[in-house]
Symmetry: C2
Subunit: 200 residues, 2 copies
């Protein structure tokens, strides 16, 4: 392709292809779309990316990303500091914030323990979590990790680690997603939903 | 979202969501991926986009995009100037080049005639095509337009327009699925369709 339209376009396509959700073909389409919309989209996106690269930092308190450190969630005095919600990724934090039911503080692990992938406690933001709990003031740690083997392993590891402190560890309930159809759910979810059934 | 992670990230997500193939959810994932890979991906992509915005121009001869005008295809003396391949979009040109069976020159229309969408001959790069043919030297015009109603309308319109000149107009063989778009086809189908092109 380099000889068709120059190395600059080829480089743009190759970098776009590294975005999740874009393959080589859709990267080409995205590049053409961007070039067609040079002024309204390509330029602003280049600027937004440069700003993001230059200004976004990882919060030294919770592991969230923001343009300030501590992040705006950690700096917000209205947030309830007695509840700490532990998530695997910033994407999970965003998902919980979109749900809009929490006014707690967060702690982003940066992944889950995964012995098979060589991810141990040292690879995760766990030491800082223990530090926050040890400082006192936290009454409950909600382990909002994925309902995967790795996520549950991580939840149990952290629960164990926090057992010396006067803090309650909880996890999200398993069950039928709101709006979900039973026929599409796996047996594990159905079993969990049955087990945690609630009186009407 | 703006209050979670700052307006800079929100703006990045909104711009990414305008790329074809990325919805709001995948734009969030892409933004997080970019921020996680700040140095290896976000920075280089910002730079590649800036270079593309600043340096990519539309070729005044053929309508292709490149960092030079005339484009590298038009400037290549080894290209056979007696055959002109007319395509709707730069993406179609790329698709034909990937098929690797042509050594011709191109002409990019910038779309197809579409009375319903208000696209007439003046909206397309057709005047320049007639000019190139009128200059002489072109023996065959391959109308490699989409096998859609608009594409075929465009092919017939151009054939009519070029009828005063001593030039043979051909179209791609119907190996192209009816209703299909070139950019989505595999190289083998494109090569077969080129080989079986038919006089108009
Ligand atoms: Zn923070
Ligand atoms: Zn050109």
């Amino acid at each position: 392709m380099g000889n068709i339209a120059g190395p600059e376009i080829e480089r743009l396509i190759q970098l776009l292809a590294r975005l999740p959700g874009l393959g080589p073909r859709s990267a080409r389409r995205a590049a053409l779309h961007l070039i067609r919309k040079r002024e309204e989209l390509l330029g602003p996106l280049a600027d937004a990316m440069r700003v993001a690269r230059d200004r976004i930092v990882t919060c030294s308190v919770c592991g969230n990303i923001d343009t300030s450190d501590p992040c705006s969630l950690c700096a917000d005095p209205r947030r309830d500091g007695t509840t700490l919600v532990v998530v695997e990724t910033v994407g999970d934090l965003w998902a919980l914030e979109r749900a809009g039911v929490l006014n707690a503080r967060y702690h982003v692990l940066g992944g889950a323990l995964s012995p098979l992938d060589g991810v141990g406690p040292d690879e995760l933001n766990i030491g800082a979590l223990v530090g926050r709990v040890a400082e006192g003031g936290v009454k409950e740690v909600i382990l909002a990790v994925n309902a995967t083997v790795d996520g549950q392993t991580t939840a149990h590891y952290i629960t164990e680690l926090l057992s010396p402190y006067k803090v309650k560890c909880t996890r999200l309930a398993h069950g039928v997603p709101v709006g979900g159809e039973l026929d599409y759910l796996d047996e594990g979810t159905l079993a969990a939903a049955l087990k945690s059934r609630i009186d009407l």
